[in-house]
Symmetry: C2
Subunit: 157 residues, 2 copies
Amino acid sequence: MAAHDRDGPADQRGAVLDLVLELALLVEEDMTAGLARAGLTKARAHLLFEVAQRGPATQQVLAAALGVSPRNVTGLVDGMTATGFVTREPHPRDRRATLVTLTAHGRAVAERLVAGRGEFADALLAGLPAARLAELADGLGEVVGRMRALVAQEGAS
Amino acid sequence: MAAHDRDGPADQRGAVLDLVLELALLVEEDMTAGLARAGLTKARAHLLFEVAQRGPATQQVLAAALGVSPRNVTGLVDGMTATGFVTREPHPRDRRATLVTLTAHGRAVAERLVAGRGEFADALLAGLPAARLAELADGLGEVVGRMRALVAQEGAS
DNA sequence: TATTGTTATACTCTATAACTATA
DNA sequence: TATAGTTATAGAGTATAACAATA
């Protein structure tokens, strides 16, 4: 117990870190599985949401928004065209460009996934007292802030 | 303000969910970047840790432990042999099998990554008062428990 | 006959470089 | 000359099915 007391703070941080890592893993698994049920991968869902928010967009714009190469967007759009989520429409004023546009199915799936967030939040958090939620929001906010700083710092170097 | 008050609990859950999702994304990015600096991918690091914990293991065992196909393990071991993290050693009693074994480099990198967890925990959490940490551990524990149940439930259906 | 690992094939995400059509 | 998107090529993760060697 003495050693445990001495290492208390580090142990506690380690325990919280373990929870954060496990949570990240579980969220990723759950999300990937849910998207697969909708016929999507994470990369394609990302593109779907981007188009849903912006409206029809060129592949260059999408590449920049997603942080991937233009070539990669070609592949994603190819797949999502074959599976009926988007179409390539001619750009009205630039014949080099195409406008990636949602199909009715793509729009419906995007809306359904966004709506599903509420259910997900309930499954994770319903029944927790407001005080408990507030604590979590505070603590997570702090941790997320530090993570953002870490990632930004490493991205810069 | 009235509508805001009425939707309070759902809003609060939505806010916490956003934090959880952002945290999962940031952790994943940071981890992927860190592993890349060590010459590893997530899949290869997973295999590395598994071998570090178990000692030399057959590819079948590793496939089961990682939850991937045996064929996939062949590819991972091929890559990690080429990059000097592991070797294939003959199984002493079963000439069909190979024992995936860490090289000195593989062992060193595994130890370095495990040690790096402490620094990561500090970067994320150092300076937070013990009470704050305890709250976080409680809240995250609850959320992780529910996530585990969710994933298990979906995996079963 | 069952198991271990590999070859064969295929799909997805990712990247760079070279090329075409258009600005 | 610069830009949009594609073809070409390549590496990594993932899967199933067929096959060899061995149990």
